[in-house]
Subunit: 313 residues, 6 copies
Amino acid sequence: MKYIKDIKENESVRGIYLCRGKRSAETRNGKPYDNLILQDKTGTLDGKVWDPNSQGIADYDEKDFIDVVGDVISYNGNLQLNVKQIRRAQEGEYDPADYMPTSEKSIDGMYEELLGYISQIKNEYLRQVVEFYFVKDDAFIKNFKGHSAAKTVHHGFAGGLLEHTLSVVKMCEYFAGAYPILNRDLLYTSAICHDIGKTKELSNFPDNDYTDDGQLIGHIVIGVEMVGDAVREIPGFPEKLASELKHCIIAHHGELEYGSPKKPALAEAVALNYADSADAKLQTLTEIFRAKDSMDWLGYNRLFESNLRKTSV
Amino acid sequence: MKYIKDIKENESVRGIYLCRGKRSAETRNGKPYDNLILQDKTGTLDGKVWDPNSQGIADYDEKDFIDVVGDVISYNGNLQLNVKQIRRAQEGEYDPADYMPTSEKSIDGMYEELLGYISQIKNEYLRQVVEFYFVKDDAFIKNFKGHSAAKTVHHGFAGGLLEHTLSVVKMCEYFAGAYPILNRDLLYTSAICHDIGKTKELSNFPDNDYTDDGQLIGHIVIGVEMVGDAVREIPGFPEKLASELKHCIIAHHGELEYGSPKKPALAEAVALNYADSADAKLQTLTEIFRAKDSMDWLGYNRLFESNLRKTSV
Amino acid sequence: MKYIKDIKENESVRGIYLCRGKRSAETRNGKPYDNLILQDKTGTLDGKVWDPNSQGIADYDEKDFIDVVGDVISYNGNLQLNVKQIRRAQEGEYDPADYMPTSEKSIDGMYEELLGYISQIKNEYLRQVVEFYFVKDDAFIKNFKGHSAAKTVHHGFAGGLLEHTLSVVKMCEYFAGAYPILNRDLLYTSAICHDIGKTKELSNFPDNDYTDDGQLIGHIVIGVEMVGDAVREIPGFPEKLASELKHCIIAHHGELEYGSPKKPALAEAVALNYADSADAKLQTLTEIFRAKDSMDWLGYNRLFESNLRKTSV
Amino acid sequence: MKYIKDIKENESVRGIYLCRGKRSAETRNGKPYDNLILQDKTGTLDGKVWDPNSQGIADYDEKDFIDVVGDVISYNGNLQLNVKQIRRAQEGEYDPADYMPTSEKSIDGMYEELLGYISQIKNEYLRQVVEFYFVKDDAFIKNFKGHSAAKTVHHGFAGGLLEHTLSVVKMCEYFAGAYPILNRDLLYTSAICHDIGKTKELSNFPDNDYTDDGQLIGHIVIGVEMVGDAVREIPGFPEKLASELKHCIIAHHGELEYGSPKKPALAEAVALNYADSADAKLQTLTEIFRAKDSMDWLGYNRLFESNLRKTSV
Amino acid sequence: MKYIKDIKENESVRGIYLCRGKRSAETRNGKPYDNLILQDKTGTLDGKVWDPNSQGIADYDEKDFIDVVGDVISYNGNLQLNVKQIRRAQEGEYDPADYMPTSEKSIDGMYEELLGYISQIKNEYLRQVVEFYFVKDDAFIKNFKGHSAAKTVHHGFAGGLLEHTLSVVKMCEYFAGAYPILNRDLLYTSAICHDIGKTKELSNFPDNDYTDDGQLIGHIVIGVEMVGDAVREIPGFPEKLASELKHCIIAHHGELEYGSPKKPALAEAVALNYADSADAKLQTLTEIFRAKDSMDWLGYNRLFESNLRKTSV
Amino acid sequence: MKYIKDIKENESVRGIYLCRGKRSAETRNGKPYDNLILQDKTGTLDGKVWDPNSQGIADYDEKDFIDVVGDVISYNGNLQLNVKQIRRAQEGEYDPADYMPTSEKSIDGMYEELLGYISQIKNEYLRQVVEFYFVKDDAFIKNFKGHSAAKTVHHGFAGGLLEHTLSVVKMCEYFAGAYPILNRDLLYTSAICHDIGKTKELSNFPDNDYTDDGQLIGHIVIGVEMVGDAVREIPGFPEKLASELKHCIIAHHGELEYGSPKKPALAEAVALNYADSADAKLQTLTEIFRAKDSMDWLGYNRLFESNLRKTSV
């Protein structure tokens, strides 16, 4: 099978892809056809089934893995697959991992790094909170490693949540070295835990969409509840410290209008907010510039409220 | 002893009052003196101790109950007590309840009414959540009954939290009758619980100030955690329902910039937000117009962003 | 004739419908065709006239009542009528009332209820203002009964203005009972009159669009002028009371940026603003949830600035 | 009598002044004294009555004209009158006009200019609206000529409303010449009438404060009602034209948050908004720079949201 | 050749036009075709090349001048040219000036007027700054005369920058006459120079798009740098005056959120901001009403945040 | 002489201090007195001259260095010096450096560090820009080393500009290592130069106030002009690179409403904005927590829009 990123105009393609989207339509002449979005871990490809009632097109649905045969044309500057045959693939014929966009970095390597930071936390209460999830809870660990950090913007791939978390922790390491008022233990703990609520806010790949709890509660309050669950299991956890840790998570979006019900009131909360926001913005730029390999202006970007371009040097 | 609201110019006063504030100062001539704020449940009175080192002035501190002797003058339109003697009162000489501003309505009567609404909740899971606190937790009940709903604005008196909660529930009763899309059980439950976090956000009278948790976490998230504590104890509580209840509490301020990390996404959350906000505004007006018995314009009010006056009819 | 809400895929349809919209277009091959929107009181239906120059297609225009013959297909999940014959219907062949979306409640019944509230107004000046329009002015009464409260959002159907007004009055009845500072007479009067300017802001069905005065002046100021017209005819009307009534109307949107040139400065104006806003939001939700019978998330709603879904209980 | 602007340090002063403000206070030693603000048309002067119970100090009140005797000292860089004698002056002893800040320009001259513009209005309906007030209504004319345009900011002196109105009309004359899309008649009429509501929004000198109607209705809506009163008396006035004129008045503040319930939708409304705003800002600067004769930075100005200084050339 | 504004439905057209845009597409049947935008100085016309591979269609590109043959049809209310032949035109066959939208006023005439204002500047330093560009720099003069003032909104045509600048200067002439606090020399100089940075912010016709410097630096800061370049060449230029001139340019957008890094702090800066903004708005309205010759409402306009219509008189 | 930070209640003090402020006032009894603010590099102290006309009090003015004798009392919780003798000190009696608040870090050491970063810039054009000021311009170097970064907030002491600049560069070093899309040379150069305009925006100590240019132009645009001055002297400087460098300076405040006329459009500009803002906030916190050595809540802080306290761990 060919990876989507390697497919070229005028090729014939045969392979199993994830059917990410399916929408039935009709031509002006009243002929029905199907619009597809095919996906593997290297990207997505538009497909058209111009004759959905032909013998070669078996039943299939959104989120099925399908075996397709077709020809690639170029339409309005984008590749498009005119699909002639479709067959639902059986479990075993494919490895789901091949169909999810995934961090380019080693997930296990990054996790090792994260564990290294955890081992630096000297305050035993704080370290126990982190270990509650990141060392002792296998289901959480598996989920966290494979999760994305977002639905559409930065780090929207498997491993993205881990990659973002590690980046934030590293920036906090810099901050803790540069600004002595910051307590390294609290800063590391809150950095490591700041987005754990995302494991419940977004469903897993290939779905990667907001859960009911994500819509109703949001990852910030979910995260606070998860921290509370850990704290409850740790005898003697100082109340004030628990509140400070929860505060850092509550306030990490920095502004009420960004969904933090409290503005940062502790130095560590201020620092965490900067680390989270700076990593999100710089990673988003990294992904934007990777996607469009051009020195030209890329057009108005809503997140940055500016036109963007790569630097000339 | 005379209640503060009954004290008049040119009287001599002797009685026990709560020393709400104490600030030492010095006249231009270098003579030290003390500024006091005296309080009982009917109001506050400014005091001056022009000779704090005289024999008649014993040691005393802010938040002490003190036995004072002095003369009342009028200074710049306000009454002021020139204090000649001060003595710290002993426990037993006074009843603390006489020194806290308190709801004018019967606290037990209001609580009975609230219990009546609780008994109307048909969904057994939701009713159990409410009963967890309002029926079974004596410490919570005592605290809730005596609490204020705010530090400075509306319902800033003992019983104020109960009075506000009951008003909100009653308005929700009206809403549930008028708009059939609203689920009465969820609306009552979230109305009754919407401000339970305030029992931990504000300390008790006479202090009535923000707690550490109030500053760091806030009553909205505290309330969600308290609901979570109850839900955890109720076997079989439907997850979706728990999220919906938490959402109503999370969203009851209606806007992100007012501290709700989520906007209302359920009809009951929309209704609760209106009931909470309308009661707060109309009760604030009630307190403003009670305090100034005048048909004149009262001056710009920051909360209402308007000058205010009583209606002529 | 079949009501639009009862029409199904693959049926043949013949009947008289209101031509709500007509737009001529051309296929890629240069063949002209017409896009129609057909309407009756139960809903709207897209139509296509693929052969507008055929003999069967007589002349017709937007806002005509037309007798159509055609076949129903499903296109992209929506029904569509492929129209083969069109004939302009004659007056008498149809009852215009069948073609306007209309309140599901009895208009006369609601009006009776409103008159009941009017009879409760004890202040004779205020009652006379209301009676000036709602009892004595037959043209106004007819217009008010048939009017919608809005062009697109809540209560956008004949009788909608009456239904909204009655709902607001009822909520004001609740407020007046719950908050003694409110003057019931002024509150009822201003609630009943708050949107009378809409009778001139929006044209009647089937047009239901902004009038020139609606664009230039707006229903708030129009309403104030209408109140002024009534006051002028009532000998001895107290000036201060007239100003207070006008103020309640002026301020009923609550915020300058929502088009009220003054923020509420009287308690009744505050209450009216809440009643108007709460009814608008809860009725909008009622209409949204009626239109989409689903327990799923309905997607981002711009008015509520949130995704929305029905409650699970 | 000496004009306040001519009074100097260390002088003795005797004369009749308007008692603009009176506030009783008490020294640290418990001695009562009075703070006064004395005013004539050239400015204001602080006064102190250190011995208000002495024989020389007769009864007097705010807004009385009082005959005072005292000595001028300099206190913290400002002049202050230590008042020894006070006597309420009798009507006839003074001319009230001498005590109001007044336009430096000839009021009758400006009014003549305004009449000149009125005579240029060719549309007879519009001219009749203007004449209804500015030619035929003597009470209005007298009131308009003596009115201020504001309580505290620009044009806060007798004749200020006339001076501002004339300036706005002149700028509209420029606009009408430069931009042919503007209709001169409508622009002049709306410019002349744009602030007529201020004659009822602010009370007359020496009070010059918001009236009840000013608080509740505001000069914009009052102005629309006054235009309506005139239009009603002019047979055959075109409805559309009346709406356009009212719109220009409604929209002349330019933004909803500045109290205009509609944004400008006609070219004349856009132009009037600029003329009103530009004159207000440039006249405010004129008054600021006249008051402080300095080339230094004058400090942050809240209206301009900037520090201000005179230009060096 | 026919001007685009004179082309009518069902005509055959042959002539040279600027190919403003070209986008290749494909019909449902997989047949490729090209979408064109053709332009001359009177307007633009959509074109379709249904058979781009036919012999008659020679190679051509965006921004080429092309000789086209085709038939005009009406599609969805707009004219469209079905193009049958295309040939790239040679230099000499056309006059580029015929293909740019251009001011309707005489460019040389307007420039003369501008020079007249320059000659009125009495302060020799300020006059030298203006002359540095507007008298002595031929390349600048040529560029300035042919430049537009904007990419899409008001004055978006050759000569537009000159036309806008002259309008702003004339309004400043009015201001300087009406408000004596304004220094005429500084006001004229800053008005003449306020948008000189646009000569580098926008590229020349036919491109008329943001330059790299326009995106990165913006015309306000570019203008300050250009003034700095001139000042540096003028011996003895008073530093304070240079700063004041730069300030007027910096602040001419009036608000930080409109891209001025400083709010106006000098009276001339306030006046310039009004002149710039008023001319932009009134010219935009002029262009809008010229484009749509209708007395109807034109629909919501984003710049004016309002629906717009022509006045009835 | 005693440093101000070491002065205690009830001491007698004699020494030379900078007279930071002087304001004459008068007691209730009409007795004149002077309020002083005395300063040395360790802090400020309030002073009162109760008998300014006594023989011991020689002539002196704001910003003089004065030799004072007096007694320290405590007034309302703050120390206050009752001054009995004052004498203007002669140059030579004091070292001005002793009277300016100064960075606690070694200025020369920090400058060495900064030079180390400069030497890492590989792009010779960018390095020459930095060297133009930081290596070759002795007057600039001296000024930069002694400058504060602000008037009142963070880094408001001599050396503060250097300390802030170095912190920003170091954070940029972290960013450049963590995010490969960032060009290290451009990021270092713009970080080093981002606030060079402050050397002209704020006057030197002891004045440390906004200059005329600071008010009119602001340090952002001044900085761009200074970069332009350097670029002009460097033959062959690539235009695009110059624009990119200027852009980073222009955009370093990140938001238009914070005075950046452009939002960041290059990755380096985004990074610089974060480094500048994060250092400002974390240094401000450092200074706040240093000033108040308390674990209590410090009260609402306007910059952080939050109450603040030190972390408990």
